[in-house]
Symmetry: C2
Subunit: 550 residues, 2 copies
């Protein structure tokens, strides 16, 4: 085994890094370097000019040193960018690269017009990385055609986790979840851990819990271990997964897109393979939306079916325990632990579809769902899908407003006092929601509760003893850039998602997200909404549907 | 911003991955792929054959698909391997690659004889990666000339950490360590955390601590936070850093080499930038050796100067609190918190060198130390370096044996009962040391204590009121491969290191590791051994020496 030993040729003026003893004289080939830089005129000058530009965040220079056109590529742990424009756009928003020094370079000519330079880097903040660049000579000028940048990762990804261990909490007893690892949304009490609720200000005042939430205790008692406390949108009051304090968890199934939330860290932990079970909560879609955005199996349970004891509330009228997994088998196994014992699933009930609900989804998502329904009709236990509804669009919008009013009143009852004292330390979007919540009157709440009762009855009637098919979210995961910029299109998309997710919330019904993929290969999902208490059967049925996403 | 959308052409028979809806017909260029694979005859066939070979760990096929010779490169997060032989050797020992599927490929021709293929991968266990391969056509056959492989990292590196948080424990009060983060060796009690001592069997029986060790509490009281519990050699009874249960922490300053131990996780956490302070212990070199191997500043304190309350003991006659940092400033700041208040440092005392001690170091290490001493004589506060000693080699070896006998007797007193019950769950090397310890008689201990008293007096006389210069370890960090294979050369190297490190241990004296570099650019270190109680001054002086490693 050999490793890279030669020190690089001394870095040029302006480049970072301190020349060290043993550094070869500039221009002298480092010992053992098979292709001395001097053999390729201009190449290393371009390399060091890029390094200078990178360290100084000199965007025009970096743009000029990358080959123009749609073929140019740059990849790192966030994902692969294709095309000069995409790369330039990324650079423009990241605010500079971490400071580093080059500790070794290896250069290889690839014919007369191409070369590859592999550089070993050391971040000034610690750790080592590698940068592989394929250079091309365009009209006498060397430019990067392909770049692959890797740095040593941080201790852990604070966008996903707040605390994580091997395990954080060991199992209390063996059971059917032996070997499974749980990412616990940072709303659940775990003995010895503080609860952060996605808010550094809340965390700072928290003391270690003395008891463990009922749902977590049940998982520990069935053989699972707790891997860690996973990120959440602040007080779970969002569906995006964006957390301005800790960052948005990555979505490995859809790079550069948001994770979905509020059970964002639990979802990403499962997507990333950090945990096998993502324990979350679902008030108005907080399990279903990240499941859909990240291609996971997920369940929101019947309201009241699983104890919420030891859980920071958002809106107790709608709050439910939910969880996510990469396979329907694990999703179902957790159900056997957390859900009330149920009789074996009866025959597969009919699937029902309200066509207007499919119309609330973007075309690519609706097409993926239609294709799945076709597969399920053609080959599977579901049989023919029955039309249901319609739901009057005006009533539907009124139901959502009622849901939001009740959610707001209850969120304010739970957190208003804290928000009153610390509201300036909330993220703007969450603070805005709490402000609206605070403005909602008791009279408005009463009217909302009437509407909610109407909606509950109507949705339960639509479901009957069958399964209502509802898009889990109106779209694929929005690009993080678009989500951050906000604007009307994003807000309309969010409203359409809420129209879809609020139905199970209002009706208190269970919903299982079946992960699907759009034609472009992006994750999306369809929810199977079942009758109250049908959770266990729903989990069994969902796993038997053919052709869900791999 | 654009990302990679096209699905790859269907994977060939035998290749992993499930064809998904939207997969283009085999042979048809995927939409948007600038260089269709069909335009480069044979390239994608070779790519998929490599993927098959990788998934089946078909070593001959992989060897054949990598270009022969010393120019070929393969890099991943472990480091960069140069040369076909080194790459083949690595593959032969890793036991196969993680299972994955290719979710997208991008192909670019680089002239007639070269091409680059960027593949986006999804691990079956979760997460997404990127593989960049530069291919070359050798005699009509495509072979990989350069490969860069990246996968999404695990939740955290269990070789470095057992539990880690953001923070794991917040500061108790503001102070001079505001913003600093501590990697706590998994021997210190931290309220709410279990102590693992590097042993899963020990951890399994541990209960959360109710109080925090004095040294950790002092750091928390001065503004530092605890980042996590860091790896240690099992019961701290080794200097290598290899832990068969959790793996050897990476050494980012010397890839493919061991971390040094037993404060291995604390050292690697600091090297990797995961924490700014690595809290460890030093009985017979457990701070000095990893500091030297990883290019860190480190201190072993005067025996008894810093409370060891709340610490799992190894050998209380020699056990000391120690710590590591990337800069002398941080090392010194920790000293201001943990060490007894001391008068301002007097004038720099003389440096003394026992030439025979330098001869115990490998040539590259001795040369680096000599070069440092030359710099310090030429330009710095140290002035001329005085020869001291000699130490009779036979007495020296007898002192080490005495050190080991006392260490063994005390380690057995501390852990013998546990080892008697659970010894089969210890790593072989640690179990072997405990067996030797158990065999040591009270008579042997008494004789050893006499020799130790002689050594203590002799070393203290050599140090006087000056500073004795001693190599921190006899060698650079051994290659992990060699360390694992063991053998006589490694054992002799280890004995020479112990001869060096036992001196401060026997004498109960403080020692600061000043990081240096060999001519090849590998970390090594020299210890400044000062008079008892001179710790604070030693820290100040060490930081003022010119030309330590960057």
């Amino acid at each position: 085994m050999s490793a890279v030993h030669p020190r690089p040729a001394a870095q040029e003026a302006g480049a970072p890094g301190t020349p060290t003893p043993g550094t070869p004289t500039p221009g002298t080939p480092a010992p053992g370097t098979p292709t001395p830089s001097t053999a390729i005129p201009g190449l290393m000058e371009a390399f060091w000019e890029y390094e200078r530009a990178l360290m100084e965040n000199d965007l025009p220079a970096m743009d000029a040193l990358f080959a123009p056109g749609s073929d140019t590529m740059r990849g790192d742990s966030s994902g692969l960018l294709v095309g000069h424009e995409a790369i330039s756009g990324f650079r423009g928003t990241r605010g500079g690269a971490p400071k580093r020094r080059i500790v070794a370079t290896e250069v290889r000519a690839l014919g007369p017009e191409h070369a590859v330079v592999v550089a070993v880097t050391e971040l000034l903040s610690g750790g080592r990385g590698q940068q592989t660049q394929v250079w091309v000579r365009n009209g006498g000028t060397w430019q990067v055609a392909v770049a692959h940048v890797a740095v040593s990762p941080p201790a852990f990804d604070r966008r996903v986790w707040r605390v994580v261990g091997d395990p954080l909490v060991p199992p209390a007893a063996p059971g059917i979840l032996d070997g499974e690892t749980v990412a616990v949304k940072d709303l659940y009490a775990v003995a010895g851990q503080r609860v952060g609720a996605g808010s550094p200000a809340h965390l700072a005042q928290a003391v270690p819990e003395t008891t463990t939430a009922a749902a977590v205790a049940a998982l520990l008692g069935a053989g699972a271990s707790v891997k860690g406390m996973a990120a959440t949108d602040e007080f779970a009051y969002s569906l995006a997964g964006t957390n301005t304090h800790y960052g948005t968890p990555p979505n490995p199934k859809a790079p550069f897109r948001i994770s979905g939330g509020s059970s964002s860290g639990s979802a990403s932990a499962v997507s990333l393979g950090h945990a096998s079970i993502g324990l979350g909560t679902d008030t108005g879609g907080s399990v279903r939306v990240p499941s859909a955005y990240q291609g996971l199996w997920g369940i929101r349970t019947t309201h009241g079916a699983v104890s919420t004891e030891g859980l920071v509330p958002l809106a107790p009228s709608f709050d439910t325990v939910g969880w996510m997994a990469r396979t329907p088998e694990v999703l179902e196994a957790v159900g056997r632990v957390l859900l009330p014992a149920a009789a074996p699933a009866a025959a597969f009930p009919g699937l029902r579809l309200v066509p207007g609900l499919l119309d609330l989804a973007d075309g690519d998502v609706a097409a993926a769902i239609r294709a799945a329904l076709d597969r399920w009709e053609a080959d599977g236990p579901a049989g023919r899908i029955e039309p249901a509804g319609p739901i009057d669009p005006d009533r539907h919008r009124a139901w959502l407003k009622a849901f939001q009013a009740i959610q707001g009143r209850e969120a304010w009852a739970a957190h208003g006092e804290w928000v009153g004292r610390h509201g300036d330390r909330l993220a703007p979007d969450v603070a805005g929601r709490f402000r609206l919540a605070a403005a909602c009157t008791a009279e408005q709440e009463a009217a909302a509760r009437q509407l909610a009762a109407e909606a509950r009855a109507a949705v339960r009637a639509l479901v009957g003893d069958g399964i209502l098919v509802v898009p889990s979210a109106a779209s694929v995961a929005p690009l993080a850039r678009d989500s951050a910029a906000g604007g009307e299109a994003i807000e309309r998309q969010r409203q359409r998602t809420l129209l879809l997710t609020c139905l199970a919330g209002l009706a208190g019904l269970p919903a299982v997200n079946v992960p699907l993929e759009t034609a472009e290969g992006l994750p999306c999902g369809v929810s199977l909404v079942g009758a109250a208490g049908s959770d266990t059967a729903l989990l069994a049925w969902a796993g038997r549907l053919p052709g869900a996403a791999p």
